[in-house]
């Protein structure tokens, strides 16, 4: 059997760092990055003798938002458990996590693939937990530990083994990141560790139902490396099967430089975490009132937004998806449409001109000088024939640089389109007189000269002549004065 005759079965375990101001069980600040080691710590997150955790209610709120956004069933009486293992970066030698009553279960994420197909990926569970510190292994063999990260809130989001290709895994991660950013609970940056992803991957012959032995892969630091690790594992596992070698239930580490996985440990020496209910934290009852309160904080989610934008504005699906990927961008779009009801044209302006400029300057939409209303007005000026599309691009440039409204730019610079027939006729006649050669060419059947004449007319009017009218009048003059019939 070849590689194509196998499919991969992929499940993801994602850790998302919540962007609350303070840690999950103490009052220390969470912004530990680039801070001197062990400066964002207190007796609680250091696990000193006699300390007790107190749940940060904001963490609960964020976790509920995430559960709702991923359509999970919310566990009405959730609780925390202790997960034990010895490691210097884990100050209490246990991590406060959630075991058998995670806050959310049975959720779903809709992913869209390149070819436009959509799939639902199941979310098994979401639970809250605390992060550990960071071990730094010095060159002299010493290990130093920085506890600034200890007790920073995390959500662990575990998917069902529903993905079948590395591309689906990437789409899942991208969608998950989009949703978490949308609801404002995490930056989800894999590069700086605010999103971490472990994968469970197995292979099986296409068409079979039984799962193969799964391998866990850790240590990927970008979406790209997740895809690469999955591709590598698929090849490796299929090769093993073809050689009739058993696949061992192992935990592997991805080496991004070598582009390969290597064994970290096999199931036989797996840890026993000795979970038991955290006696220092009473079970958390999630009331209907709290659910109601949090649901009001939830913005319209990307999927719903795409569906609604498609239905309300009838713009191309591609445009709708692109805009929904950024909450502020889609808000910008909707505000612009409120000023002038031409959604298709406005979405094109946003996705081509506006995004190009913003990307060039690496600016987020919120830092853009152009106001949504002004973009609507710009399209309105085009639609009502006040300016041509070409002039509009110049006006846009000024708007982008100076943030003024389009009408005042057009007025102050005299960019209003010439739509007066007699004025246009006068200019055309002058152009025809000055370009006798072109008229001769046309009489000889070289119709290409028509374009040249139009160009000359626009040059003469500095682009302000209404191009439709120029076309129309030029054709009729050529016919009446020179008996040239234009197609």
């Amino acid at each position: 059997m070849s590689q194509e005759e196998f499919e991969t079965v992929i499940g993801l375990e994602v850790h998302v760092q919540l962007n609350t101001q303070t840690k999950i069980f103490c009052g220390c600040a969470t912004d530990y990055s680039n801070k001197p080691a062990n400066t964002h710590v207190c007796e609680v997150c250091m696990g000193l003798p006699g300390v007790l955790p107190v749940l940060n209610q904001r963490v609960l709120q964020y976790a509920l938002k995430a559960c709702m956004a991923l359509e999970c069933d919310i566990t009405k009486e959730t609780k925390f458990d202790r997960k034990h293992y010895f490691y210097p970066d884990l100050p209490k030698a246990y991590q406060i996590s959630q075991f058998d009553k995670p806050i959310g279960q049975r959720g779903t994420i809709r992913i869209e693939l390149e070819d436009g197909t959509e799939r639902q990926i199941g979310v098994t569970r979401i639970h809250m937990e605390e992060d550990a510190g960071k071990s730094l292994h010095a060159e002299n063999g010493e290990t130093l530990v920085d506890y600034n990260r200890a007790c920073v809130p995390l959500l662990e989001i575990v998917s069902e083994p529903d993905m079948r290709t590395p591309e689906e895994a990437r789409a899942y991660l991208e969608k998950l990141r989009l949703i978490m950013r949308y609801i404002g609970v995490s930056e989800c940056d894999m590069e700086n560790g605010s999103l971490r992803c472990d994968v469970n991957v197995s292979v099986r012959p296409v068409g079979t139902k039984k799962f193969g032995t799964k391998v866990e892969v850790k240590n990927m630091n970008s979406f790209r490396s997740v895809v690469r690790a999955l591709e590598y594992e698929k090849k490796r596992q299929v090769r093993q099967i073809k050689r009739e070698q058993r696949i061992l239930q192992q935990t592997m580490l991805w080496d991004d430089v070598k582009g390969e996985t290597r064994v970290m440990r096999t199931k036989e020496n797996a840890d026993d975490y000795r979970y038991f209910p955290e006696p220092d934290l009473p079970p958390v009852r999630i009331s209907e009132d709290l659910i109601q309160e949090v649901s009001l904080l939830l913005p319209e989610l990307p999927d719903k937004k795409v569906d609604r934008i498609l239905k309300t504005y009838g713009i191309p699906a591609y445009n709708a998806r692109l805009m929904a990927e950024d909450r502020e961008l889609s808000d910008f779009f909707e505000n612009a449409v409120k000023a002038h009801n031409n959604p298709i044209s406005i979405s094109n302006w946003i996705l081509s001109e506006l995004l190009r400029e913003l990307n060039k300057d690496l600016l987020p939409i919120r830092d853009c000088k152009i106001q949504a209303v002004h973009l609507g007005q710009l399209v309105q000026l085009i639609d009502s024939g006040v300016i041509s599309g070409k002039i509009a691009k110049d006006v846009f440039e000024v708007m982008y640089k100076e943030g003024k409204d389009p009408k005042s730019i057009v007025d102050s610079r005299g960019l209003t389109q010439i739509s007066d027939d007699s004025k246009i006729e006068e200019i055309i006649l002058t152009v025809l007189t000055n370009n006798a050669q072109s008229v001769n060419d046309m009489q000889a059947g070289k119709m290409k000269a028509f374009g040249f004449l139009v160009g000359q007319i626009m040059k003469e009017t500095k682009g302000k002549a209404n191009p439709g009218k120029v076309n129309e009048i030029l054709k009729s003059l050529l016919l009446t004065k020179y008996q040239i019939e234009c197609p």
């Binding site: 007796e43 250091m46 696990g47 000193l48 003798p49 006699g50 300390v51 007790l52 955790p53 107190v54 749940l55 202790r82 034990h84 010895f86 210097p88 100050p91 209490k92 030698a93 246990y94 290990t143 530990v145 026993d272 000795r274 979970y275 038991f276 006696p279 220092d280 934290l281 009473p282």
Partner: protein, 483 residues
Amino acid sequence: MQANRLTISEIQAGLKGKTLTCESLAKQYLDTIAAHNSDINAFLEIDPNQVIADAKAADQRLAGGGAIRELEGVFAGIKDNIHVLNQTTTCGSKILAGFKPIYEATVVKRLRDAGAIIMGKLNCDEFAMGSSNENSAFGPVKNPINRNLVPGGSSGGSAAAVAAGFCTIALGSDTGGSIRQPAAFCSVVGLKPTYGTVSRRGLVAFASSFDQIGPLALCVNDASLVHKVISGKDEQDATSLTHSPTWSELPKDTSSLKGLTVGVPKEFLGDGIDLEVSEAMNQTIEKLGHMGAKVVSVSLKLVDRCLPVYYILSSAEASSNLARYDSVRYGPRLHEGGSLDELYLNNRSLGFGPEVKRRIILGTYVLSEGYYDAFYLKAQKMRTLIRQDFEKAFQQCDVLLTPTSPFPPFALGAKTADPMAMYLADVCTVPVSIAGLPAISIPVPRTSTQLPVGIQLISRALEEDQLFAYAMAMEVMLKGNHL
């Protein structure tokens, strides 16, 4: 009467009448400590200069017209598993030798705010595990009543310090009887409050779902005064309850005993109960009858399951709570070199004593994969049933009466080789801890040739107010002052 045997109300009357100063009290306590502590070994750490300085400051404040606060003139000893700033917290263990906390326990802050002067740290069984105070890495405590006897444990230093007149009151911690049993052995009063009424912040955890801090004192009134100060919601302890009890005036006589229904669980009379203890119980029951109380026999059917349930659950929690002591971040590094696993193994092997190791191993075992359901989970279910057992008993009575310990204090060294015999010392106190109920041990007055015996009164959860009232009336009754 010796000044250092004064109760809180006597001290405060003296301060008010200016017949006493805090400094003179401090000197008396310090003199007594200087004379006897080296033998009794109750205080592990004390800073006499600080105590004198604090006492002088208190006198100055009072001289300047400052009001007498709830615990003004009270000299408090603190069990060595509760953090006091600028003093070490060793928990009676080598693994924490020299450890200085960077924050103070909520209870200690509350004591200070109420005017109490903190004297120092009191010896205890290592990590509060033990019933004789012989498990301390810093030597056993001797019973001040008879120095050949153990003071009980694990708050043995706290009970002995109060009994020896080293301080006015002491704080202990009670997980399965660690305040009540030493109180009985040293003939003082000891309260284990309802779980959740006293903040545990700054108490080094042994078994988090059992541990409670409580007072040891010369009389019920003193215990109640201290409890009022240290109890109440603490935002830094998620298990501390929001509960504001109404404290009524405590009775000065036995009249409130009339018509009271006292339940005596029949499981605590008879087999396994020492003759001297049953005698004291019978005397008490008889006197209660004379006072017009109704004594009824009730049953706590699950009493024989309580010790295993307690040792499974408390050891499970202990194995988790004590996992952090690895000599990496604090505490002495008792062994250097080797791999990370060897570092853990060597330091923990050298740092913990045998009883602590026994419980860590037991606790680790009952939480392990494949054993969790059979032990931990089953014990949790039993815990619910034991609570219901008490609820049923309280349908028939206002308060429960049992011996505090099945036997009187025993000789030092008598039970150290037999952990099971030692565990039996907690048979009367452990059920209450499992149910999270409040209980108080008060001494039964004895002749000089008899050994100390305490009785335990148990009330419904959060009913400390009534519990103190019953205990106070019975204290009057037992002392015979009611005539």
